[in-house]
Symmetry: C2
């Protein structure tokens, strides 16, 4: 019986994988990977059979039960099975369902954390999620729009509206709706927002605006995007508005907005 490793591939750039993740990929006999995993990361699994399971941003395109079952089956046939997931396995993935299936089947497993997109975005922007005197709490959330699938769908607003800094994952497509919800919950329309798409990849793009500006929606190129919201971004947005792009501000667009 083999062992299954749930490995976080990190935000995009292949060299943001952990050393442990890289070692396990090199040892892997078979790798099940998400759609967003970089080809350069997959290439580290030199001797492994590679199976695409086509999940993107937490959406299911391969049936989750199919993935769960395949992990258990693979552990019967191979010593080292890697389930390679974008970002970190324990944040906005469906790792818990995979873990439950492995536990039920008595398959040994280990989780290897990965750099989650919000941390990578912060590094790219040069803006701390927390900052002395400005922010000592940060909320990560995935809002869901009107699908009624689960009752916790609207809980995110209370936490996000009260956090000093908020990062919304998989939310850019309904940015205007989420901005409206946050403003209704008491967040100022002048709160700075930076939308960052494809963070750490060459095609990385940033759009700087405010919650009020976000009400008009946000342009996107189809890459995975984060909405970074909070006072910690005020200086960055003001600099972008003054058209003083520094080395860190590649491909930055400033949407029409007021910081007041």
């Amino acid at each position: 019986m083999g062992k299954v490793y749930l490995v976080g591939a990190g935000p995009g750039a292949p060299d943001l994988l952990t050393l442990r993740g890289a070692r396990l990929l090199a040892e892997a006999d078979i790798v099940f990977f998400d759609a967003l995993v970089h080809p350069g990361t997959l290439a580290l699994a030199a001797k492994a059979k590679k199976v695409a399971v086509g999940k993107r941003c937490g959406q299911v395109s391969t049936d989750q039960r199919y993935i769960n079952g395949h992990l258990v089956d693979a552990a019967q046939a191979h010593a080292v099975v890697v389930r390679l997931k974008g970002g970190d396995p324990m944040l906005f993935g469906r790792a818990q369902e995979e873990i439950a299936e492995l536990e039920t089947a008595g398959v040994e497993y280990e989780v290897v954390p990965g750099i989650t997109a919000a941390l990578a975005a912060s590094a790219q922007l040069g803006v701390s999620l927390t900052r002395r005197g400005v922010a000592r709490s940060v909320t990560f959330a995935t809002p869901r729009v009107g699908d009624g699938e689960d009752e916790s769908a609207n809980h995110w607003v209370g936490s996000a509206a009260n956090a000093d800094t908020t990062v919304l994952y998989m939310a850019a497509g309904h940015a205007a709706t989420h901005a409206r919800e946050l403003i209704a919950a008491g967040k100022s329309a002048g709160t700075p927002v930076i939308c960052i798409e494809s963070a750490t990849l060459p095609e990385e793009r940033r759009v700087a605006t405010t919650l009020g500006g976000l009400l008009r929606g946000i342009p996107g190129n189809g890459g995975p995007a984060l909405l970074c919201i909070g006072e910690v971004y005020r200086e960055w947005l003001a600099d972008a508005q003054r058209m003083r792009p520094d080395a860190g501000q590649r491909q930055t667009t400033v949407e029409q907005c007021s910081l007041n």
Copy 2:
């Protein structure tokens, strides 16, 4: 003029550093490192001069201005300067002050993200921070107890009490106070809590309880500890209460508590 890299060393275990961080350490001429950085991580900086700046868990033991100034000075003398910080640089560090000083001095810099402790703890516990139908928002916060240093000190409660999952950093020492604040803000006393100390290191310890149980404080061994709070931990706590330690539950203590 050299370049300064602010590198996240990750949660503890040296192989949870990123590939990029490892490469930069190997290239570094000089490394300024925090007290909590593992000797095995430092050893990767084979040719670098190593300077301890003695910060632990965000507390300042070396004056922050001293560190800021030294980074600028080092960039005049060395090509590759690494500032190695525990966890991730952009979460609960003082990176923004270092970045501001580098920008003012016109020194080029880059931030390399690291695995933050909450993600490492989740991997160790095998419990997702988010989970379909249970949790779609997570708050990370550092409460501060009555020092009056900054006015945002109490904002954390609103966000933490409303989040589905909450992870408190640098909070175990005043666990009872924080539990009282969260209960006063509406969080149920039966909410499961896992305190994890020295996550990913051989001396890792877990204490499982509830917010109500936390009112009696929590025993600690002096290592960096997280308080992980939320319904996602209910099953883990129930298993621990039934004394069915699995492979993942090394050094686990269950405090007297009720899950209701």
